[in-house]
């Protein structure tokens, strides 16, 4: 039960924020609005799964916003080249995984601290895509690109279902497989992990590769919502995702974090903007409120942590 404290606190926070729309314009709790909210936040959640794995492994990846844009652009180019959509999807995931693995190699093999390695790849990828596209969008995509050619009413539940399945599978794997536990072990202590027969370098590489592939998946879930691709997307996505994961209780020092926490973090941070729109709050306050909530969440955690240390 001890481990669930942060989750309970988040549920409470979500409940409080969730009550606010009752004092605003009606309509927040209409199914359509909730569905929109969910669909809009799917990319953050999917990237958040990868970020949780990376942070549990005591690393960090700030290149995902750029990677997200690169994957989106590549998916568009592949679709335009006439590849069938399943192949486009696969290629996008693979591209993400390869670039993620490059990050992983820099960290695990070349021993570049993760924050620096991914700061560099963030700059490289973002500038590369500006160089390659000149900022132009990718247009005239085949009709089958948007929603994978499905009618929107069918596609949206499918997307939600796919993300839910991915989330559940990842949560299960992180908890119930030896491979999942190895991220926790390596995040706690490389030497101790080595002693139980793990290869920390490989585990870190795997974490970044998964992160990359999931950044690709997030890009797919995002860009296939449209008939065109904005090549400059995903600016600031990394901070949004890291904030959600950290608010969800993962420790940046590694070894601690759950996907349930990440889900709750995504929900809390994801709903704030919409809730305040329904309350007709001036959007100029958006950033300040977001910052205050992040701080409140981590500070409350310390209060919990302190009580824990004392008992």
């Amino acid at each position: 039960m001890r481990a669930a404290r942060r989750e309970l606190a988040l549920v409470a926070a979500i409940a409080v924020v969730g009550l606010l729309p009752l004092f605003g314009v009606p309509g927040f709790y209409r199914a359509g609005n909730l569905r929109n909210l969910a669909i809009d936040n799917l990319p953050v959640l999917v990237a958040g799964i990868g970020m949780t794995v990376v942070i549990i492994s005591a690393e960090i990846d700030i290149s995902i916003g750029s990677l997200f844009a690169v994957c989106g652009a590549l998916s568009g180019l592949a679709a335009k080249a006439g590849w069938p959509m399943p192949l486009v999807a696969l290629a996008t995931l693979a591209a993400g995984a390869v670039i993620g693995a490059a990050n992983g190699l820099l960290v695990a093999r070349a021993r570049v601290p993760a924050i620096i390695a991914t700061l560099a790849t963030m700059a490289i990828l973002r500038n590369a895509i500006i160089r390659a596209t000149g900022g132009a969008w990718i247009q005239d995509l085949p009709a089958g690109f948007q929603w994978f050619g499905l009618p929107q009413a069918v596609a949206q539940p499918v997307y939600l279902g796919a993300a839910a399945a991915l989330f559940l599978a990842a949560a299960w794997a992180l908890r119930h497989t030896a491979a999942g536990r190895s991220f926790y072990a390596v995040g706690c202590d490389h030497e101790a992990a080595r002693r139980i027969g793990l290869a920390p370098g490989r585990v870190v590489l795997a974490a970044f590769t998964i992160m990359g592939a999931l950044a690709g998946a997030a890009a797919l879930l995002n860009f296939t919502r449209y008939p065109t691709i904005e090549t400059n997307a995903g600016v600031g996505l990394e901070l949004q995702v890291i904030a959600a994961v950290v608010v969800g209780g993962a420790a940046v020092t590694g070894g601690r974090g759950t996907l349930l926490g990440t889900l709750l973090g995504v929900i809390l941070l994801g709903m704030i903007g919409t809730v305040f729109t329904f309350l007709h709050v001036n959007p100029a306050w958006g950033k300040a409120i977001q910052g205050a909530i992040i701080l409140a969440a981590v500070v409350s955690d310390t209060a919990f942590g302190k009580r824990e240390r004392d008992d």
Binding site: M1, R2, A3, R175, H176, T177, A178, A179, G180, R181, Y184, A185, G187, C188, D189, E191, A192, A193, R194, R195, I196, G197, L198, A251, G254, G255, R256, E308, R309, D310
Partner: protein, 495 residues
């Protein structure tokens, strides 16, 4: 005769620029306790790394299990063959639960938490410890962590168990229980490789002794064919006394006095004691009995919330380390790596770090500092390539001397030493004992916290014993016997 359970033939290991091990033969038979002895840096850790598959021998060496050569040893493979190891510093996963730590890295690709819970419970029962299975281990005490590590190793149905300094951080009674456990494992046919600096223990349980020196095997002897002095000689390569009893020096006025001192969060209460100039006050007791916590209160790390501290007869408030230092207190902590020295700093900076503000104010004067550091390094016999070398390049014993030098540099009147000789080799231990004598002669009041009774008995003038956060009693060392000290430490449960 059956082949040995585990055997290393002509094991060598060269690190960049250093040969840690040269053609060492070693074997472990089922049902024996084989002690591995040697000073720090003699190659014991390297030998263990070879035996557990963490590293491989250079060409020419081979590792055998049950007489068969293991071509490509890895930790996982050796584990699967029943070779388990418990390391000196618990290598647990701090954020993970007790349950997970007990079973980590075992089983197939899937994890069944129900099975793990049952398994964890039975493993803990086997070492006789009760712990909350869901608690993250970062909240546990050292002894509890050690117990988990041993329980994990045992649980893997190990046929060969490697114990590297398992009692270093355990107090006497806990150590005794561990030795009982080792004996029962031996009786059950497990082969045990036992490493310890405590010769006493080793003499008690080992069937054979192998001594390493400078990466070379000096010899292997059966029980009874060698005595304590002989082992010491083999380890050091020369005759060495183990302990340097304190010489008689005149005892002066009271330097520090506590009255009913306590701190709730540290679990210490009602401690009243005095220590005089020129005196060494030993503090014994079990690990977790409040010895280190008492030191932390005195040094302002966890300020007291009851009672008072008097220095030179006047009550003083010690709310922070700064207060304690201003009153002439100095504390050489137990955990050398995390607290004693800052390993990455050069030797001279480590030595002057605590005295810096007092010595130079806001603007350091490097030549003066270097002179101070050089003087202390010479006085303490610190062996270092240079004063500008990183402290991490020094051996454990020399690092401990640097930690001591740092506090001597502040010119303290009361020096608190917490397990100052834990895990350091015999030579350095003797030097530190000699130094304590010299400091007492200079008129310092010394508080010596130690888990090693022999050390307390040889060095202290009086011995205070802690039990469950309280002072169980204070005895003059001359009158105190082991029995008496143990009785105080354990309370009613007589051993």
């Amino acid at each position: 005769m059956p082949p040995p359970l585990l055997e290393l033939r002509a094991g060598s290991r060269t690190y960049p620029g250093a040969r840690a091990l040269r053609e060492v033969d070693f074997d472990l038979r089922p049902g024996e306790v084989h002690a591995l002895l040697g000073e720090n840096g003699a190659g014991k850790s390297t030998l263990i790394r070879l035996l557990t598959g963490m590293e491989r021998s250079d060409a020419g060496g081979s590792l055998l299990v049950d007489g068969a050569v293991v071509a490509e040893p890895t930790p996982r493979l050796m584990n699967a063959m029943g070779i388990a190891a418990v390391y000196q510093n618990p290598t647990l996963f701090d954020e993970l639960s007790v349950m997970e730590n007990l079973c980590i890295g075992e089983g197939g690709p899937l994890v069944s938490w129900r099975k793990r819970r049952a398994e964890a419970r039975s493993r803990l029962a086997r070492v006789g410890v009760e712990l909350d299975l869901d608690r993250p281990v970062r909240h546990l005490r050292m002894a509890e962590k050690q117990a988990i590590e041993i329980a994990r190793a045992l649980g893997q149905r190990a046929r060969a168990l490697i114990l590297d300094e398992p009692t270093a951080s355990l107090a006497q009674n806990e150590a005794g229980r561990l030795l009982d456990l080792v004996e029962s494992l031996r009786a059950a046919g497990t082969g045990i490789l036992y490493i310890s600096h405590r010769l006493e223990e080793v003499m008690r349980i080992a069937d054979r002794f192998t001594v390493l020196r400078d990466g070379v095997r000096v010899g292997t002897h059966a029980r009874g064919s060698v005595d304590r002095a002989g082992l010491l000689r083999m380890m050091a390569g020369r005759d060495l006394a183990e302990l340097f009893p304190k010489e008689k020096v005149p005892i002066g006025e009271v330097a520090l006095e506590t009255r009913g001192l306590g701190c709730e969060s540290g679990g210490v209460s009602g401690v009243s004691l005095t220590v005089r100039r020129g005196e060494i006050l030993g503090i014994g007791g079990l690990v977790g009995s409040g010895r280190t916590e008492l030191a932390r209160i005195l040094f302002g790390l966890t300020p007291a919330d009851s009672g008072e501290i008097r220095i030179g007869g006047k009550p003083v408030a010690i709310r922070s380390v700064g207060d304690a230092m201003a009153r002439g207190l100095a504390y050489v902590p137990e955990d050398r790596k995390a607290h004693g020295v800052i390993a990455e700093l050069p030797v001279w900076e480590n030595v002057t770090l605590a005295a810096l503000r007092r010595l130079c104010g806001n603007w350091p004067d490097e030549p003066r500092e270097e002179a101070l550091a050089a003087g202390l390094a010479a006085e303490l016999g610190v062996r270092a390539p240079s004063l500008h070398a990183a402290t991490s390049t020094l051996s454990g014993g020399n690092q401990q001397k640097v930690a001591l030098a740092r506090w001597i540099a502040t010119g303290p009147s009361v020096l608190i030493l917490d397990e100052p000789t834990q895990g350091i080799d015999v030579g350095a231990k003797a030097e530190i004992h000699r130094l304590m004598g010299a400091l007492a002669r200079r008129g310092l009041a010394i508080i010596l916290i130690s888990s090693e009774l022999a050390e307390l008995l040889a060095l202290a003038d009086r011995i205070a014993v802690m039990r469950r956060g309280r002072l169980a009693g204070i005895l003059p060392a001359a009158e105190a016997g082991r029995e008496e000290l143990l009785r105080l430490a354990l309370g009613e449960e007589r051993s």
